[in-house]
Amino acid sequence: MADEPKEPKPPQVPTGDKPASSTPAVSTPPAKSADASAPAAPPKPAAPAAPKPPVVLQTPLANEFVTRFRAKFGAALLDAIEDRKQAILVVECVRLVEIALHLRDEEKFDMLADLTAVDWPKREKRFDVVLDLYSFPKNERLRLKAHAEDAEEVPSVVSVWPTANWQEREVFDMFGIVFSGHPNLKRILLPDEWQGYPLRKDYDILQQDTAWVRENLGIESGQ
């Protein structure tokens, strides 16, 4: 059971050592879609199985919480979706701190469970900064997403939830997203002088920071 039959050779296993610049050859370039984070209808790879009808699970979310939110922030709220019964609000990156304060104080989302980022190299607003909130009184979860360009500064929410401190440092370490207003934004997991941001899609898995390896370990990388 363990090794599933490999008929559709996963394109990911690189035949040759492709130069890092090309995106992982996922043959389905995610179509550009303004709103949802996920491509609306990715054309299926020429899998031998009959292409299943593309299943779309994102249904627009319209409950009184969203209307109250839209009334307060209007333009800042770009989209409200529900994916697999989990509420997602896509908001403008600039007013993130203000929205965060509002959510924590009025809407009682007092705990930031998780803060991370997703890299969509195809889109011009490349990064998704994803915040998972949880409210103890209402026992509800909410996911906040903000799109950010490559060199764009995302306002840091450390002032709202101190727990974001290390998580933002990790996102900076892995993606290179700069959080303005962060107390001491420097690498947390990788050595400080490490070049490159590993979790970006264009950072090929085999690529080590050859300079760092040669300088510190004194061996050619990959040995």
């Binding site: 599933e4 996920a38 593309p54 299943v55 697999r84 469970a113 998780d114 997991l189 590993p198």
Partner: protein
């Protein structure tokens, strides 16, 4: 305190700013055990990535495995059959007891009590034997599969679990007699590393550390998963949120887990152990965040799928990594000897902190 320090549960380096004996500030330097799990996830299929999850928190491998499998099941909009869910609950609760036993042993050893360590390991050995009989591995078990279970419960499974739970009751009393009323133990833990409820929530601390500060919150009750909704158990809550409260909360949690196992073992429903899930998993595009109650706290999986065989992005919310942030707040104003006790009481595993 360097990375190879005997009492930092792994490779954690702590820079302490001291004024004589008193700690003024601290900075944790982590990353020594960083293996880039999330990058690997983007180049593995959903089934291939499951064993990596065990290697993160190697002390509570079963519960991280459960979290990952349930997250992918949510992604696939698939539900594990009832029999699989009950067996999963039993194994996760046994893993919680094993993880707390390891914590108790090493924590007591740091503070100087030599004997509890051996008592705890004797019990933990029993649990690891059950895991070994069930799925062949003791520590990084990879016991669950996406959609259910790989192996049927071996024939004496119920009897083994029942026998373990029966005599575990007297064992906990043994630890209690050694430590709970011990004046020196109380002297070393009472009022050490206090974390108020407000600070705990602000620092996103979860699990026993949060409950010891007085916040009554447990994902098994708040958002029941697997088969937790079928069983009665309480959530122990502390008052001041010092090391002694955390000790009491974890001891009580072990008792509650034992009760859950007993209730679950009585009637394991018959039926299939695997949902109808194809060999090649291609979850429809979209994303999901699924969190469960690991022994150290809330472990969450944020998985984004782009419809292909491999996840587009997997992010793991590690409880130890986030609980460690509260370390600086707890350690201020204490003596150097307390730093060791405080590291022990947060119960961190470096594999999970560094990922």
């Amino acid at each position: 305190m360097g990375p190879q320090h005997p009492s930092t549960h792994g490779v954690l380096r702590v820079k302490l700013k001291l004024d004589g004996e008193r700690v003024i500030g601290s900075e944790c330097i982590i990353g020594y055990l960083h293996r880039g799990v999330e990058k690997i996830a983007e180049n593995r299929t959903y089934q291939q990535f499951a064993p990596y999850v065990d290697r993160m928190d190697y002390v509570a491998a079963v519960s991280s495995g459960l979290g990952y499998c349930e997250a992918v099941e949510k992604l696939l909009l698939v539900e594990a059959p009832p029999r699989a869910r009950v067996i999963r609950t039993i194994l996760t609760e046994l893993q919680r007891i094993a993880s707390h036993l390891l914590w108790l042993g090493t924590h007591a050893l740091d503070i100087g009590a030599l004997t509890p360590l051996f008592y705890c390991f004797r019990e933990r050995e029993e649990i690891l034997k059950i895991f070994e009989k069930y799925c062949g591995a003791r520590l990084t078990t990879h016991a669950f599969r996406i959609g259910g279970l790989q192996y049927e419960a071996y024939d004496t499974f119920e009897r083994d679990v029942e026998r373990f739970c029966k005599d575990f009751e007297s064992r906990i009393l043994e630890y209690e007699t050694l430590l709970t009323q011990n004046r020196i133990w109380i002297g070393r833990t009472k009022g050490v590393g206090i974390l108020t409820a407000a600070d705990a929530i602000a620092f996103g601390v979860t699990g026993p550390v949060l409950r010891a500060s007085g916040v009554k919150w447990d994902i098994r009750k708040a958002a029941p998963y697997a088969a937790y909704d079928q069983y009665k158990f309480e959530i122990p809550v502390g008052t001041i949120g010092d090391t002694y409260d955390r000790y009491l909360v974890r001891m009580e949690e072990m008792r509650q887990s034992r009760l859950i196992c007993l209730q679950a073992v009585e009637n394991i429903p018959a039926g299939p152990i695997m949902a109808k899930v194809g060999k090649v998993l291609k979850p429809p595009p979209g994303e999901v965040y699924h969190a469960i109650e690991a022994p150290k706290g809330e472990i969450g999986y944020y998985i984004v799928s782009d419809g292909t065989v491999m996840p587009y992005r997997v992010h793991i919310r590690p409880p130890s990594f986030i609980n460690l942030q509260a370390f600086d707040r707890m350690v201020r104003g204490h003596l150097v000897a307390d730093v060791v006790a405080i590291i022990g009481t947060i119960d961190i595993v470096l594999g999970e902190v560094d990922r």
